[in-house]
């Protein structure tokens, strides 16, 4: 074996703090060789109970209290205690410094794997990817969560648990509709946030009052107002709209809506980069640990254990397997990352035809470029190669409820590659995955009712929880709420509350 002159760092499966530090140093060195730029790492060793705690509050080290996190906790605890699931080996938080949790039950191999995966894989993704750079602010997230938790605890004191809980329930129901897709939020610290919150409270209430002013203005002005529809354009960020315009919300309620909206915004990039993020981290733990093996820093036993858990992470059951539950993002991401490297290092004729722009180029440059500038949808659109489609034997099935059978649209052959790629990319488009619901009109001169529209995508209807969500929307808005589900300009179903 090459470089066998150097001794392995450890031969035992037991870990110690000294060993973790030593491994971390070596891994950091290799990561730097591969030009992985990271936030500083904060590695925290925790017990499995603590892991469950972290799990049930979206992994965040501090979070406001809500019963739904208790529900998650009980669910996880129940499954874990019955042995129905294992705990994740790691949780990593997009913050600066980047916090990664190691479980004390893990062996030294697993700790090294987690360090490579989380502290250098995910961490560099958080720092490099454009979505994270645009939409999240790693420096201030912990501060913001602290502010949020204190603010909500304060509200609970002042307005009662019940009132805050109901409000949070409603906000959570609309959480996925609380993200801006096109504007960048500004990073600020806790102190600033507090100051601004006071200012916002005052200003917002003034604006709202103005919108709902009932004293008639000058005749000309009034006519103009009546003619102008409100909002001028359909609004897709429901929570933002409610925060700014709901007539009956108290200032503190507006702030809570804002908090939920901010948290949703923070998690938005993660929801859009699952395949890339996991693929990137998996690719790097695989590459880094192999590099360590090549340098003679780890033993054969270490590698066997690592490979065993690596293969189970990227296991992809076939569509007809009882274990199948969709495409494993780890598998897809890892396979594509590996494939990009292959295309760069050893391109075939096919690759040159499909990827003339980077076939045969420097693989590290290409990978870094891909990591920085794409999200799942565009990444798949850009980089999914015929070879990966063949390897995973991907096929596309069309399920149309107007047909009695399912049609196989495309498979892994020459005529099918582009279709499969197109469809798979579409599958990761959040815009298609979630119903497209927007506020189209508010009856400001009449009964203040809110009118929403659902534009159907491929005739897909809304599910049965719609009525419930509308109740929540109604609670926040305070007046009638109507929702029309529209397909090709025709309303197929209407919902309303009350």
């Amino acid at each position: 074996m090459a470089g066998a002159d150097r001794k392995p760092i450890s031969t035992d499966s037991e870990w110690s703090f000294e060993l973790i530090e030593e491994y971390n140093e070596v891994i950091a060195g290799i990561a730097a060789d591969f030009r992985l730029e990271t936030y500083p790492n904060q590695i925290e060793v925790i017990s499995s109970e603590q892991m469950m705690d972290a799990y049930s509050s979206s992994g965040m080290p501090l979070f406001y209290h809500h019963w739904s996190y208790g529900k998650q906790f009980l669910g996880i605890q129940n499954n874990y205690q019955r042995g129905q699931m294992g705990l994740a080996y790691e949780i990593v938080i997009n913050s600066n410094p980047c916090i990664a949790y190691l479980m004390e039950e893990n062996t030294m191999t697993m700790q090294a794997l987690v360090i490579a995966h989380a502290c250098y894989g995910h961490n560099s993704f958080f720092k490099g990817n454009y979505l994270f750079q645009t939409w999240t602010d790693a420096d201030s997230i912990i501060d913001y969560l602290l502010f949020a938790r204190n603010f909500i605890a304060d509200c609970e004191q002042r307005h009662g648990l019940q009132a805050v809980e109901l409000l949070l329930d409603s906000c959570h129901a609309l959480m996925n509709y609380g993200v801006d897709r096109y504007k960048r939020p500004h990073p600020i610290s806790t102190a600033e946030e507090k100051l601004r919150q006071k200012e916002r409270e005052r200003l917002l209430q003034e604006q709202v009052n103005d919108l709902w002013r009932t004293i008639p203005g000058k005749p000309g002005e009034n006519a103009e107002l009546q003619a102008a529809p409100f909002p001028k354009e359909p609004q897709e960020n429901l929570l933002y709209f409610l925060e700014k315009n709901a007539p009956l919300l108290e200032p503190w309620q507006r702030e809570v809506v804002r908090i939920v909206r901010k948290v949703a915004q923070y998690f938005y990039p993660q929801r859009q980069t699952q395949v890339m993020n996991e693929g990137w981290a998996t690719f790097w733990h695989y590459t880094i640990l192999n590099e360590m093996y090549d340098r003679g820093l780890v033993t054969d036993g270490f590698m066997m254990e690592f490979l065993q858990s690596h293969t189970s992470v990227i296991y992809q059951p076939d569509f007809d397997s009882p274990y199948y539950s969709g495409i494993n993002p780890y598998t897809l991401g890892f396979t594509m990352m590996q494939d990009i490297r292959r295309i760069c290092e050893a391109p075939t004729e096919e690759d040159k035809r499909w990827f003339p722009e980077f076939a045969g180029s420097d693989w590290l440059d290409t990978l870094h470029f891909a990591m920085r500038n794409f999200k799942d949808e565009s990444f798949i659109q850009q980089y999914l190669s015929p070879k990966v489609i063949r390897d995973l034997k991907l096929f596309c099935a069309l399920d149309d409820d107007e047909q009695s059978t399912i049609e196989i649209m495309a498979i892994h052959d020459d005529s099918g590659y582009r279709d499969v790629r197109e469809q798979l990319a579409g599958q990761y488009n959040l815009g298609d995955r979630e119903p497209n619901i927007q506020i189209v009109n508010i009856d400001i001169r009449g009964d203040r009712s809110m009118h929403l529209q659902h534009r159907q995508h491929n005739r897909k209807p809304l599910d049965q929880s719609t009525e419930e969500v509308l109740k929540h929307l109604h609670r926040l808005w305070g007046f009638d709420v109507k929702l029309d589900s529209v397909w090709q300009g025709k309303t197929t179903k209407s919902y309303s509350c009350p």
Binding site: I46, H457, Q464
Partner: protein
């Protein structure tokens, strides 16, 4: 650059607040489940945790989502024999995977939400809002048992409390103090004497004088008593009032022919509840089982619940036995006494009035609480009416209720021990 932090010693119950919030929100469900468990569980495992099941519909957090239907194209891995253009039967949903993939991922799994509550939580829910009758009152009214506690030393006491070490130390100190000036003088004289004797021509008279003085001092030193009355130290104990934390529970049950096993089972559950309830409030609980038909007998638990007897019913026999056991073993000054009686309401015709006498004159004044449950769907008989009179006399501490089926036990129990506004 990396910071390595050991967080294992940090608190691990970060989710405790959220868990409590959850339990609070679903209180109604949990209480129902607990009430069901109490009436349906076998008695031996009533004192353990419980699995709570909440219908998924009640617990879901709604969000906008796509329902089944419409046109969707989904990419799956692992193709085996399909080629483009194939028409495939729609797989039945729920059969893991298949081309219906997405719909079944969301639509299926409508199982109920299941989780565990601990034994403590179970009992808390079970005894929620219940309060031990008169417990507080007795604590406020002053207690009647005391405990001695060491509280330093005293100069008065009885010989059995003498502290020898302290006494001898005191004596030693006194002896040193009293003899100090004499010993100093003695030392002086002795040096003078030695000096005089060392002279070549000692002054005989002076020597004699010194000798005399020395022996005088010595004898006076000897007269200092080794131990004096006021050297004696006694261990001091103070008497502290002690709230009684012992309770005795009398279970009285009719086992005459009219009591079927079902009725006895209901009674048993009632007793168990009472027992568990007392267990949470007292350190130590004795249980006395008295069963009776025409005559009463103290028995063990097994016999109490499972042996069968036949014959008539004389309730007063049991009350008499209870009274004598109380007198012999459980003085009311040391024990909190609780009585619980279960019967089907039958009694020997003329006996009910003597039950009234026994209860109101001898037993009730000593008791914390007495509860009577009549397990019968039938009309009340003489015993019930006599007991009603007892209740009128002891409204605070006497309760009677009727139970007709297993499911009644818990509500009745709660009613009997309801938290009463102070």
């Amino acid at each position: 650059m990396a910071y390595l932090i050991d967080r294992r010693l940090n608190g691990k119950n970060k989710s405790a607040v959220n868990r409590q919030r959850f339990l609070r929100r679903y209180r109604k469900h949990i209480k129902e489940a607990v009430a069901d468990a109490v009436s349906s569980r076998s008695i031996t495992d009533i004192d353990s945790g419980e699995t709570i099941t909440i219908p998924k519909g009640d617990i879901e957090e709604p969000v906008f989502g796509h329902g089944p239907g419409g046109k969707r194209s989904i990419v799956h891995p692992g193709n085996k024999e399909f080629v483009a253009g194939d028409q495939v039967e729609r797989p039945k949903r729920g059969k893991g995977g298949g081309a219906g993939g997405k719909a079944s991922n969301q639509g299926e799994g409508m199982d109920d939400f299941v989780f565990q509550i601990t034994q403590d939580e179970f009992l808390d829910f079970m005894f929620d809002e219940l309060e031990l009758p008169n417990l507080v009152k007795r604590q406020l009214a002053g207690t009647d048992s005391f405990k001695y506690r060491r509280a330093g030393f005293s100069t008065v006491g009885t010989p059995n409390q003498i502290n020898i070490v302290r006494s001898l130390k005191a004596a030693n100190g006194r002896r040193i103090a009293l003899g100090a000036s004499k010993r100093r003088r003695l030392k002086e004289l002795e040096t003078q004497l030695a000096a005089e004797q060392a002279e070549t021509s000692p002054n005989e008279f002076k020597l004699l004088q010194l000798d005399e003085e020395i022996s005088e001092l010595k004898s006076r030193l000897k007269k200092i008593p080794f131990l004096d009355d006021f050297d004696i130290r006694y261990n001091m104990n103070v008497k502290e009032p002690q709230p009684t934390s012992k309770a005795v529970m009398f279970c009285i049950m009719d086992v005459s022919g009219s009591m079927t096993q079902d009725v006895k089972d209901i009674a048993k559950r009632f007793f168990i509840l009472l027992y568990l309830f007392l267990q949470r409030n007292y350190d130590h609980i004795d249980v006395v089982f008295i069963r009776h038909h025409t005559s009463a007998k103290e028995v063990d638990e097994e016999e109490f619940f499972y042996s069968r007897e036949t014959g008539g019913t004389v309730v007063s026999s049991a009350l008499k036995l209870m009274k004598s056991i109380m007198q012999a073993r459980y003085p009311a000054s040391q024990w909190n006494i609780y009585g619980a009686q279960a019967s089907d309401g039958d009694n020997w015709k003329d006996d009910s009035s003597s039950c009234f006498d026994l209860l109101s004159n001898d037993i009730m004044p000593e008791l914390q609480h007495y509860s009577y449950v009549e397990i019968t769907p039938n009309k009340h008989q003489a015993l019930w009416y006599e007991y009603e009179q007892v209740r009128n006399q002891f409204e605070e501490s006497f309760a009677l209720q009727q139970i007709t089926s297993n499911a009644d036990i818990y509500p009745v129990f709660r009613e009997l021990f309801r938290r009463r506004p102070a």
